[in-house]
Structure formats: C-alpha cells, structure tokens
Amino acid sequence: MKKESLSNAKPMAADPWEALRAFTAARIALGRTGVSEPLHSSLQFKLAHAHARDAVYSELNTPEISNAIEKQFALPVYLLQSQVSNRQEYLQRPDLGRKLNPTSLQQLQLLAAPVADVALILGDGLSAEAINAHALPLLQILVPALRAAGFSLAPVTVVQQARVAISDEVGLALNAKIALILIGERPGLSAPDSMGAYLTYQPRPGLTDESRNCLSNIRVGGLAYKVAAGKLLYLIKESLRLQLSGVRLKDNVNLLS
C-alpha cells in the first residue's frame, strides 16, 4: 500500500463538538478510531495515571525538609515511623499507619516536651510528593504568622508511612494543645500532589474524623499557600479560644479572601 492511500484512509474521526471542552475538564470530544479511543488521548490518560501511581510510591525527601526547617525556623525536627513496614502494608493496613512504632513513640516521650500550642507534623500519606513540594512553602507563611500571633510551637516531626490519625499520638506525646498534620492526599489523575491539612484540638489516640478540621487540595493550581495559611491560622486561633475542633468549629474565612 502506498503512503498516500494510508493517509487518505483517515481512521480517526474527530468530534465536531470540541468547543464544549471550554465548559469542563472532563475528557470529552476525544474522537474515535472505530469504536475506540484515539491513541493520543489513551496515552495522555496513561501518563496521568503513571504520575498518580508514582506519587503513591514516592518517598519523603527527609534530609532536605528537616535541614530547611531547622535552618529557616530554628525548630528541632524528629524523624518518626508508623508501625507500617512497607508501602504494600501501608495500603492494606490503615490501622497500622495510625500508630507510631515503639521506638518512635519512646523517642518522643523521652523528650518530655513542655506544653506547646501547636505541634506541626508532616506525613507522607498517599503522596510524599505533595509534602516534598508544598509543605515548606506553606510553613514559610504559617510559622511566622503563628509566632507573630504569640503561639508556641512544639518540635516538628516528619512521619513516614503515616495516616492522618497518627497526629493524635504525636500531638499527645509532644504535649501540644493542637496537632496540625500536613499529609499527602489520595492522588487524582489531574492532581498527583495535593496536600491536605488536618487540625485536632487536644489530640489523643481514639479520636475520629468528626473531631478534626480539614483543608484539602493545597497545591499549585489548587488552594494557594497564602489562603491555606490564613485559614489554618484562623482555625488554630478559634480552636484554642473555643477549646474544640471538628464539626463544631466552623470555618468562616472566605475562600477567596
């Protein structure tokens, strides 16, 4: 077959409603070859999935993060582990990801940390990439703001194989009034690096989701650092004032303020 006749065959049918893509990020007007999706969009999907999968298996850049925190904020940093031993176990045993391993717990208890207002905790969660990319930029706004507001900070902890609720155990061991964990969210196809922030007043093991406040989708193109830091500062102030967190603590800060 000649090259010409191949190109004339035009197996690909484009959809004449491509203009509708302006209204949604959904994968519409992809066209068809036969009944199937054209190669280009098939590979684009695969690429997005690859980014999400790689994010699940990404690891915290602990040396860089802890050096930067110690240097920039003059705060001690402790590296901790949950009871999970590898990523496969992490995904199947959320119960183990909510508990510190005995060595890590002992390490914190031996510190006998004085009472502090806020314990900042970083956890890999389902996307360490999110923490590698977004934790420091957020803290660079949040830490000075917390200090300016007169709040005391516990040592910073960085926890590997962490679920959100591990902040309860860490916060309690550090004698903190509030535990604030920054953690990698479940990666989506359009955002493999979303960071979530969960705040708990009087953290202690056994608390459930209704006792936490959550900000999600902190990333470039999502919830901006400055807005996120502003909301967190507000929530921390209100949490300490009202002595509670969770469903009874309402977030009254406008998202666009």
Binding site: P16, W17, F23, T24, R32, V35, E37, A55, L126, R186
Partner: protein
C-alpha cells in the same frame, strides 16, 4: 453449632457459620484487615470443603447477625419465600453449586428461584465457585426492569451516563451529557453525583436533565444521586424526580452510617411511585453498594465483606429497583487491593445479585492507590459483558473529575457492545437510530457539526 474438617492429620474447627463463611472467602485485603480471613491456603480450602456439606436450610435457622438486633436480618427472614425455596431446600451448598451450573437451572427456573435465595446462601455458594462458574450462572439470569425503557434483556447492555462536574456547573454537565449521547450512552440513566447536597442545586440539575430529555424525546430516566432525605424534599417541592437514589449496606448499623433505615427507604419508594413518571414501568429506585462499606463503618459484626455486600442486595430487592450497582473498586486497596481482587469481587457481586433476582450493573472502577489499571478494567468489562451485566458506567475518557476515580468510558461501552454483539436498551436504540447516531446494524456513526443535538444544545 461448630463445623469441622480434617485434612491429613489436621482438624480445622470453625466455631460458627459466620467464621466458616469468612474463612471460605477468596483472599482479599478487607477480610485480612478485619482479622477474619483464613490464615493459610489450606485453611481456606478446608473451609470451602466444609461449607460444601452445609445444608442450605441452616441459613434459615442460624442468623449471622441476630434477628432481634438487626432489621436487615429481619427483612431477610420475614420476606423469604418458602415456595420459591422448595426446589432447592434439600440441597447442601455444594449440591446447590452443581445444580446452578447444570442445564436444569435455566433462565425461567432461576427467575422463579430468586425470592427463595437468601443473601447468605448466595454468598456461600459463590465462595465455592471459580470465576467461570460465577459468569456461567449469571449469564443464564435475566432480570428485567422498566421505567421509560427496558433494561436487562439478554443481548443488551446499557450505560449510566455519568456527567459529574466538580462544581456542579450546568454547562459543564450539559457538555458531558451531549458527548455521552452522541457516543450512544445513557440508556440506564443519566445520573449525576452532585458535588454538593444542596437541594437547590439538585433541583436545578434535575430541571436541566428533564428539559433535555423532553426536548429530544429521549427514552431514558434521570437521577441526581443525593441523599434519600434530600430527594424526598425535592419530591415535596415537585422537582422532576425520576429515580430515587441511595447508597445502602448489608447491616442495620451500616445503613445508620448512611443516615438511612428501611422505613425511610419505604417512604421514599412510595413517594416516587406516587409521581407515576414511568411510562412503561414503575421501577423507581436506584441503589449503589460496594464491598467494605460495613467494615469501614465498623458495622460488620465480624461477617466477611462479601457476605455483608450480599445482604445489601436483600435491602435493594425489597424495593424493586430499576438499577443496582456495585461500585466495586471505589472504596480502596485496604478492602480490594489489586486488579485480581477487584475482578473477583465484581464477579461475585454480579452473580449474587443476579441469582437473587436483581437488575445488577457494575461500576467497573479503581482508585489510584489500588494496584490496578485500565487493562484490569478491560478484563473485567469483557468478563461482565459475557456474564450478562445489565449496565456499566459511561464516564468521559473513564476519568471522573468530581469523584477522582477511574471507571469505564463511552468508548468502553461501544467496545463491549461491538465485540459481543450487545445492543442498547431497545427504546433507546430506536432513538439512537432516529438521531443518526447509530445505523441499523448498530454501528456507531460519525456525527456532523450540523447534527440537531449539536445545533441546539451546544
């Protein structure tokens, strides 16, 4: 009552039916998380060998979750049909498996049998089956429902057009509806998962879908998948509600975690019936289920996750739904870890629901932290197509931008219809033909920019 089985020198003891069912279940991460799974390969097969000899009758006498404590158990026992059960009452679970696969269990026989099968019987027999057994028996079942079209006929496969949008933007949703219709999707239902549960938003979206449907005489139904209490409110406000949606679980406590109970579902069912919006039938409910929901709500009573799931089908069955589907891979890898587990669970769910008489579809799906990809979905789609699944999801490019998970695309539906010679619901097929979207042999056609749907909607 305890159950025993000896293999070589080792005697396995299973203290009750609940433990026996859990240990006989194929391996999945959720049962390990709950501490219910068999500890060795041999123990699992020992449990299956033991289960094979258990008479079906026992399931009517030994409740897994006490009758007094759980309204789902009461529903299962109180609505069991002794007449329908009669042909299989003398069987053990193992004999039941062999009979289901035999030619004696044909389509008509299976349709009559449904009300005699409890969820525990269905779950038990599924645990003795290989994947091909689950497909072979389900393929013989035909559970048909009607509202504005006919879903579930043999040789047909419908899709739920799922035009979700992260902010419920009507134009964004309309764009996806159009994309789906022009790709031949939307006969099961045009169903939106709203980003917010605000009644006003739901009402607006219902009005929009109803307008599109009426304007183009599309023989289908719409649904906003909000909480049943919200839908009840919408019905009171005279919003155009076709189908009432609700997520359901297999225990009273699991349903409590969804904010529902049987009386509330009954109220919604009656309210929807009273609207009389169906033209050729009155199946007005749409239920979604999924293995792991009872465990994640800590409401599983040490019953394995597949048996809990089958119990949800008893809840669904009571309200004669138009559609039921298991959102099989949505809940995450702590319940179904990888493609193998998702595929197995989906085939079990589809089989159990079908033999219980339900119009079962499957949301063939996974999340990004599960060890699965589109190849696994292709495998499952093909298996379910062969198994005679009533409907699947139609999501643009298989990527749901609101719920952040991957499902099946409009193209996937076209693929499975083509390779297996399956057709849309007959009334919808007629409409696709009229619109020039397909031709008489069912082949999808290219759409020109002058197509009436594009001219007026775009």
């Amino acid at each position: 009552m305890s159950y025993r089985y000896t293999i070589r020198q080792h005697t396995y003891t299973f203290p009750d039916l609940k433990v026996l069912l859990a240990k006989a279940s194929p391996y999945r991460s959720g049962d390990v998380l709950a501490g219910l799974a068999a500890l060795t390969y041999e123990e699992r097969v020992a449990a299956q060998l033991t289960l094979a000899d258990v008479p079906l009758q026992i399931f009517l006498n030994e409740a897994l979750i006490p009758y007094e404590e759980d309204e789902v158990t009461r529903l299962i026992i109180d609505t069991h049909s002794a007449t329908a059960f009669a042909p299989i009452r003398h069987f053990t679970v193992g004999e039941f498996r062999d009979w289901l696969l035999s030619d004696k269990a044909d389509t008509l026989t299976l349709q009559q049998l449904g009300p005699g099968i409890t969820p525990e019987m269905a779950a038990a027999v599924s645990k003795l089956m290989r994947n091909q057994d689950l497909i072979g028996v389900a393929q013989k079942c035909e559970n048909i429902t009607r509202f504005r079209n006919t879903i579930g006929l043999k040789g047909h496969l419908a899709t739920r057009l799922q035009p979700n949008h992260p902010t419920d933007h009507p134009k964004g949703i309309a764009a996806v509806v159009l994309d789906g219709l022009l790709n031949g999707s939307g006969d099961a239902v045009i169903g939106i998962n709203p980003a917010s549960d605000h009644p006003a938003t739901a009402a607006l979206l219902l009005e929009m879908l109803d307008y599109v449907r009426q304007q183009y005489y599309i023989p289908t139904q719409s649904c906003i998948l909000c909480h049943v209490t919200t839908t009840l409110e919408l019905i009171e406000q005279h919003a155009p509600v076709d189908l009432v949606f609700q997520s359901i679980g297999g225990t009273e406590k699991a349903n409590q975690s969804f904010g529902i109970h049987l009386a509330l579902l009954q109220e919604a069912y009656e309210a929807a019936l009273s609207l009389k919006r169906g033209t050729i039938g009155n199946n007005v409910m749409y239920f979604e289920t999924g293995q792991g929901s009872a465990l994640s709500a800590n409401a599983h009573f040490d019953v394995d996750q597949q048996t809990c799931e089958a119990r949800a089908y008893a809840v669904a069955r009571h309200f004669k739904p138009h559609l039921v589907n298991s959102v099989v891979g949505f809940i995450g890898p702590e319940y179904l870890y990888n493609g193998k587990q998702i595929i197995r669970a989906a085939l079990e769910d589809h089989f159990c629901a079908k033999i219980m008489g339900l119009p079962m579809g499957v949301d063939i799906c996974y999340t990004n932290h599960a060890d699965a990809d589109q190849d696994d979905m292709d495998n499952l789609l093909t298996l379910l197509g062969v198994a005679g699944c009533n409907f699947i999801m139609g999501v643009p490019g298989a990527d749901d931008i609101m719920l952040n998970y991957q499902s099946t695309s409009f193209h996937d539906a076209l693929y499975i219809r083509k390779v297996l010679g399956l057709r849309p619901a007959p009334e919808f097929e007629e409409w696709l033909l009229q619109q020039g979207i397909i031709n008489k042999s069912g082949q999808i056609l290219p759409v020109s920019s002058s197509h009436p749907l594009l001219q007026q909607l775009a």
